[in-house]
Symmetry: C2
Subunit: 204 residues, 2 copies
Amino acid sequence: MTLTAPDAPRPPEPRAPGRPRSSRADEAIIEATLDLLAEGSSIEALAIEAIAARAGVGKATIYRRWAGKDALLRDALARLKRPPADPDTGDVREDLLILARSIGKNKDPRAEKIMPCLVPEAMRSAEQYTTYQQIVEPRRAVTREILRRGIARGELRADLDVEVVLTALTGPILIQRMLRWNPRLDEERFPEQVVDLVMKAITA
Amino acid sequence: MTLTAPDAPRPPEPRAPGRPRSSRADEAIIEATLDLLAEGSSIEALAIEAIAARAGVGKATIYRRWAGKDALLRDALARLKRPPADPDTGDVREDLLILARSIGKNKDPRAEKIMPCLVPEAMRSAEQYTTYQQIVEPRRAVTREILRRGIARGELRADLDVEVVLTALTGPILIQRMLRWNPRLDEERFPEQVVDLVMKAITA
């Protein structure tokens, strides 16, 4: 792989960061990044050179589209962890339940391998913390919206602290799925049990 | 360091695993293990040879006292994370608050560096999962006891699921301290906010 390797045509205008890219090379680069991470590469060790080799493109192709590894990682991880749809069933408990059951479950099997590795890396560097936040924030936004609708409809107490409640809902389910933190829990029932516990505290 | 390096006298009887050891060599070995982990060694990479060199003992001294690396790690990590005292103030909220505020806070500064690294390792191997569980279980036992006393005194609902409640209390605080999971939270107030939210759901 060299800087002069053949390349897909460059899009006519520079694109805003995070905007979906559609060329075949972009797709191959994103897939190569996710494959290498899922095969056990740490984010730190992941090299643009290795991504280029796996994607069958030149390093220049990557640098033409992304400012650097962090920008590429953000797009790749955003692809992996699309934010969930807002269920908006009209019932807070039902909405929270759908969301709670989806925590830590992913359509793409590579996510199960990549996400736990991202967590310790997020603890070590500001860049990876930002990347991690950009992936989880859209999920938090959906939960926030569910709680706000519940308050607006009078289902939930008007004085509840939305940030505290969403973290209290998500934290236990995430830590239990990531770590099997408490081996005495029933994994299948736990998301519903947390939702019901929290609902007792926040129902108007 | 060789297998015939000079050595502290062996205790007259083999000791039960986990029982505190008191000789100066044992102390040095435990301290060396914690130092190396705090300096960034992964559990996987940690070698008995390196521990022996740092402690100034022979490898044989270590193998005479511990069956292997896992047993030594369990003792070293148990030393690092002593279970909290049961506050037993007579008031469930007060007890839970004392415990909640201590989550992720440690007297030994090495714990802040070692514990987050143990988490991803715990996810990868059954041995490290067992080690992690042996460290956290005594903490869970204290919370369990607080909740049971609360039920017995009639402060808490008799039908609450103690395992669900203790995980719902600990999970959010742990994930917030480990990862600053939700940047919109007030770190100082969060433990009390979680306790108050959960108390609303479990008070009789």
